[in-house]
């Protein structure tokens, strides 16, 4: 089965092509077609996973582009990490295809939606099985395209347009770093294949400084894609897309691709101490930074978006601290519970047609399945004991402890506390309260089903931590170790998580602590947080402004310097023309004189030079 692994991404691609070429003809069938083909991919993935128990590594490559003696290749690389990612992607993607059937039920551009979704699935599957960085980069960009198209799906909305554009551009900034990094890497090692790069690093063919530079450049790519500070601003805006899209792309898969990139090129990062430090510091900062913003946002999806940013920061933090397994583990569990949270949020929006949590004010409680699944998701992300999130977070704390990063550990713990506060704020505000609005629609089974399945995974995924470590160790070797925390740390983590829940309970449910009063006392802090630290405005006023300024500067150069030069040239030519036309007197004798002068000149030349040359 594993030798057919390269077929996996092709089915969604077929789906995309059929749907995009058939236009609106397929109508409802489009959804079923997409689900069918994604389902085939998922089954194939399962088959591949079964094979992976015995074969730890499988690579198939074809020549793709010949450049003189260099040959760039395309193909598929299956190792435990890739296999895991394949599973996560195809599984979540399948569930979300099914969910979308209900969510997008009445949209008349449904076939476009499913086409884009299939395109994204194709790209994401291709991404996680790339045997080399070039193919990785290509799918990386295609994933961005899928995300862009889906964010801008409601294209008549001005905000969707802006969000889509922003997402594409911000991630592209990261991609530029990635591109530079991979080209540098290519000239250092003469190859882009992951395996050969790792060999080169093992043989210490690269200068340490160069490794650090390349690792940082690759990390810039990951920062862009995974919404890490300072390129995170697109991710919350990306919530303009349909909610299932947010679940798939901006929670479970694409944004995790940055983490995956770091994981996939982990030997490179391990070879450079500085790169690891930068990864962990950026991760930690993003985690706490986004969590604080998440505390005060009022938009259901935005809170989840900031929570995603924060959790991705966690993963980076883990990877930076040497917690390879912890990072990948958290990536997996996060994929399940965050997809679940988004799907549940989608149900709320679907049913109530509202996503402002203060306006919803508890109306979510009429949706029983949604309420319970959302609660499970919330508990998981808060690190409630025995749910998946608690295990993966604990692994991260352990890794930090092992690495001796006590400062970062403190940050991580505090972030965990904030996480449970804002997540339960969300939960209490949406599902507990007066609840005056009755749902306009009932949530169909095809939406509830995936939510329940994901809820199950969100509960149980945490128990497979050590299996995951063994699994990953099969492919990668030494660094794939799951760190275990000492008891006091487990206790502390649980305490922090519960503390957050309790605090949220008192503030938002019992209202014993008046949040309005807090708002008054810390009004400036509140404003800063509510406006996301004014990062967008900062970019607006610095980068965008200076870009525009350069543009206008060049515009004026163009207008005055170049055009003047142009006018000068054409003026000169015109002047020559006018002068020349004066020779054109119409008088034969003048012409004759000119001819004679020419003759005289030629004769003179011959006489003086004695011939040609």
């Amino acid at each position: 089965m594993i030798s057919f692994a390269w077929l996996i991404p092709l089915f969604p691609l077929i789906s995309f092509m059929v749907l995009i070429l058939s236009g609106k003809k397929l109508k409802n069938a489009s959804g079923y077609l997409a689900i069918l083909l994604t389902g085939i991919s998922f089954l194939l993935t399962i088959g591949v996973l079964l094979d992976l128990r015995t074969i730890t590594e499988f690579e198939v490559i074809w020549p793709w582009l010949t450049v003189g003696e260099i040959e760039f290749q395309a193909g598929a690389l299956i190792n435990p990490l890739n296999g895991l990612m394949l599973f996560v992607v195809s599984f979540v993607s399948l569930l979300i295809h099914i969910y979308s059937l209900g969510y997008m039920g009445e949209d008349d551009r449904k076939s476009s939606y499913f086409a884009y979704l299939s395109l994204f699935t194709f790209a994401m599957l291709g991404l996680v099985m790339s045997p080399n960085l070039l193919q990785f980069y290509m799918f990386w960009e295609l994933v961005g395209l899928g995300s862009f198209l889906l964010i801008g799906f409601y294209l008549y909305k001005e905000s969707a347009k802006k969000a889509a554009r922003k997402a594409f551009i911000m991630t592209r900034i990261g991609d530029a770093g990635l591109l530079i990094g991979l080209i540098l890497l290519f000239w250092q090692t003469k190859t882009l294949s992951f395996l050969e790069i790792f060999q080169a690093i093992e043989q210490q063919k690269l200068a340490p400084g160069m490794i650090t530079l390349i690792a940082i450049l690759l990390f810039i790519g990951a920062v862009g894609k995974s919404g890490q500070f300072p390129l995170h601003t697109w991710l919350p805006d990306a919530m303009e897309g349909p909610t299932p899209v947010s679940a798939l792309i901006h929670a479970a898969t694409m944004v995790a691709a940055g983490v995956y990139l770091v994981a996939a090129t982990y030997p490179l990062f391990l070879a450079s101490e500085w790169a690891l430090i930068i990864v962990s510091v950026i991760g930690a900062f993003t985690a706490i930074f986004a969590a604080t913003i998440g505390l005060v946002q009022d938009d259901l999806k935005r809170v989840l978006a900031y929570s995603t940013v924060s959790q991705l920061g966690y993963m980076m933090l883990a990877l930076g601290a040497g917690g390879y397994v912890a990072g990948v583990f958290h990536l997996t569990t996060h994929a399940f519970f965050k997809a679940l949270l988004f799907l549940a949020a989608g149900s709320v929006i679907f049913a109530l047609k509202n996503q402002h949590i203060k306006q919803i004010a508890g109306s979510g409680k009429h949706l029983a399945v949604t309420k319970w699944t959302f609660l499970i998701g919330t508990l998981a992300i808060s690190g409630f004991p025995l749910l998946s999130g608690s295990f993966s977070k604990e692994a991260i704390f352990a890794a930090l402890l092992e690495d001796g990063q006590y400062g970062l550990l403190a940050v991580a713990l505090f972030t965990a506390f904030l996480t449970s506060v804002y997540m339960f704020r969300l939960y209490f505000l949406v599902f507990h309260g007066k609840g005056e609005d009755k749902p306009e629609r009932t949530v169909p089974l095809c939406m509830n089903g995936p939510m329940v399945i994901l809820a199950v995974f969100a509960v149980i995924a945490g128990f497979f931590g050590s299996q995951l470590a063994d699994w990953l160790a099969g492919g990668q070797g030494s660094f794939a170790v799951l760190h275990h925390s000492p008891t006091w740390l487990i206790f502390l983590a649980t305490l922090v998580s519960l503390g957050g829940i309790v605090l949220a309970y008192y503030i938002y449910l019992r209202k014993q602590i008046n949040q309005e009063e807090w708002k008054e006392t810390f009004s400036s802090t509140y404003t800063i947080l509510y406006n996301k630290y004014f990062i967008d405005e900062f970019y607006e006023n610095t980068i965008l402004y200076s870009t525009r300024a350069i543009s206008y500067l060049i515009f004026y150069i163009e207008k005055y310097v170049v055009e003047t030069a142009m006018a000068f040239v054409s003026g000169t030519i015109k002047a020559i023309g006018t002068r020349g036309s004066r020779l054109q007197t119409g008088q034969v004798q003048t012409y004759g004189t000119v001819a004679l002068l020419g003759l005289a000149a030629i004769v003179l030349f011959f006489v003086v030079k004695g011939g040609y040359m």
Binding site: Y156, A176, L184, I554, V562, M613
Partner: protein
């Protein structure tokens, strides 16, 4: 008459077909004959492609004239020869001319007979430029492209068409003058204009100063054509004021003569002296890339955006050439072909847009997607191809060009990558402003989507763009031998 001559002069058949028609014959039959005339070179060029695959070379040579001067003999022959690069450009030419004719069917209503006559002369000239194997023929056909373009712009263009046509002719005329001087200088030294013979002569003479001097002249001459900043303003006005069908050819093929010339004349004839210019070309490339990109950011006219996008893309060609290695050259060549296809696609769509709305002002357009989803989708596809999305030809060429330039000049490459970010910004800004957004803002709410018949040329272009993007070896296999000669000539 060999296959190459047949190919070269095949546009004459179309020209004759059109000329047989009287002035009063109805436009439909003129268009029909023009399409027929466009198909003939297309078919022959593909036959040549198949032939070329068999032998990997295709050449013709007829002695023309020679004379003695001093101890040296001076020879000018009628020499045609193909290599992979030229063949690729010829295939591109015949394809794009064909599609331009299809585009003209609806867009040209004023005296189509004369229009097509000029168009076929133009095609003849372009084919000649790419097929000729010596500088003399090259120059002859190079000049031959000048005149038809002048009339095509001046007579069938928009608004400031005559101004644009004069700008075109003045700039290119000056460029040709410089080119002629350089060619004559080389001819007087080497006694031949054949590319290979000149290369052999220069290698044996080893006169660096002379070579550098001539190369500067070539750089200027082809810099006008490419265009290199600050010699670009003619090109912008041609993009804006020429009829879109003509711009398809202009941006798609004619600008490529500059890139082709730089490679063929620069590295093809002066392999020893050319690397001296690596940094110069890299700097020029960067300037082009960023200058074009920054200007494209703030334009309000879609055609101007695309024009500056072309300027910017030419920067990538220059960067690739500056790499002075296989990857860079291949990137430059890929970019030539790829940009040809992409800009042809974009201007084809612009033509359709003008038919529907009569404007390309971005401030007047908006929310088009609701009314015309397919047209908008194609615009977006073109823009994505232009901004170098993987899976389309633009990415492969950009990637290789950057790989090439990174070997020796990594800093230039790194700065150039910034240009790629800007590319995204300006393309998305233009396309999204036009297609996305509130449909109620769209003054042309009832505009028709692209028709079934109009879909074909766009489809063909998209297919080629994706083919090269998904499987670039289809093109790069064709180029390997050419590249080898280009690069090995440089001593590795």
């Amino acid at each position: 008459m060999g296959l190459l001559s047949l190919l070269l002069f095949s546009p004459m058949i179309g020209l004759l077909l059109i000329s047989i028609l009287t002035k009063n014959s109805d436009h439909k039959s003129i268009h029909r004959y023009a399409v027929l005339g466009g198909i003939i070179p297309l078919v022959i060029s593909w036959v040549a492609y198949i032939q070329f695959q068999g032998h990997n070379q295709l050449a013709e040579r007829v002695s023309w004239f020679s004379y003695q001067g001093g101890q040296q003999s001076f020879v000018i022959d009628y020499e045609l020869a193909l290599n992979g690069f030229r063949l690729a450009l010829i295939l591109l030419t015949t394809l794009i001319v064909m599609l331009a004719i299809l585009a003209s069917v609806k867009q040209i209503t004023k005296n189509p007979r004369l229009f097509y006559q000029w168009l076929f002369v133009l095609e003849l000239g372009i084919l000649g430029v790419f097929a000729s194997d010596n500088m003399f023929l090259f120059f002859f056909f190079f000049e031959l492209t000048l005149i038809p373009m002048f009339f095509l712009i001046g007579k069938w263009g928009h608004v400031e068409r005559e101004e644009a046509a004069y700008k075109y002719v003045i700039y290119n005329g000056l460029g040709s003058a410089v080119l002629l001087i350089a060619i004559v200088a080389v001819f007087a030294q080497a006694g031949t204009t054949n590319f290979e013979a000149v290369q052999a002569y220069m290698a044996q003479r080893d006169d660096m100063a002379f070579q550098v001097g001539v190369l500067i002249a070539f750089l200027v001459a082809f810099g006008v054509k490419l265009p290199i900043i600050p010699l670009h303003s003619w090109m912008v006005s041609v993009h804006v004021y020429a009829p879109p069908a003509v711009v398809m050819i202009h941006a798609g093929v004619l600008l490529k003569i500059g890139a082709y010339g730089l490679l063929q004349f620069g590295s093809g004839m002066f392999p020893d002296a050319f690397p001296v210019f690596a940094v110069t070309i890299a700097v020029l490339g960067l300037i082009n890339l960023l200058y074009g990109a920054f200007l494209a950011l703030i334009q309000d006219d879609l055609r101007k955006v695309f024009a500056y996008a072309s300027v910017s893309h030419m920067g990538i060609i220059l960067l690739g050439i500056a790499g002075m290695n296989t990857a860079g050259y291949q990137g430059a060549i890929f970019q030539t072909i790829s940009h040809g296809l992409i800009s042809a696609l974009l201007f084809y769509l612009v033509g359709i847009l003008i038919l529907r709305t009569g404007t390309t002002n971005l401030k007047k357009l908006g929310g088009m997607w609701t009314a015309a989803p397919v047209l908008s989708g194609l615009f977006l596809t073109g823009a994505l191809a232009g901004l170098g999305l993987p899976g389309m030809s633009g990415f492969v060429s950009e990637f290789m060009a950057f790989v090439g330039v990174f070997e020796q000049l990594p800093l230039f490459g790194a700065v150039g990558v910034i240009g790629i970010i800007l590319t995204v910004v300006y393309f998305l800004r233009a396309i999204l402003n036009m297609t996305f957004g509130d449909p109620r803002k769209n003054k042309y709410e009832k505009m028709a989507d692209i028709g079934k018949g109009e879909l074909f040329p766009a489809g063909v272009l998209v297919a080629f763009i994706i083919l090269i993007g998904v499987y670039p070896d289809s093109l790069s296999q064709l180029l390997q031998i050419t590249l080898e000669t280009l690069v090995t000539g440089m001593g590795g």
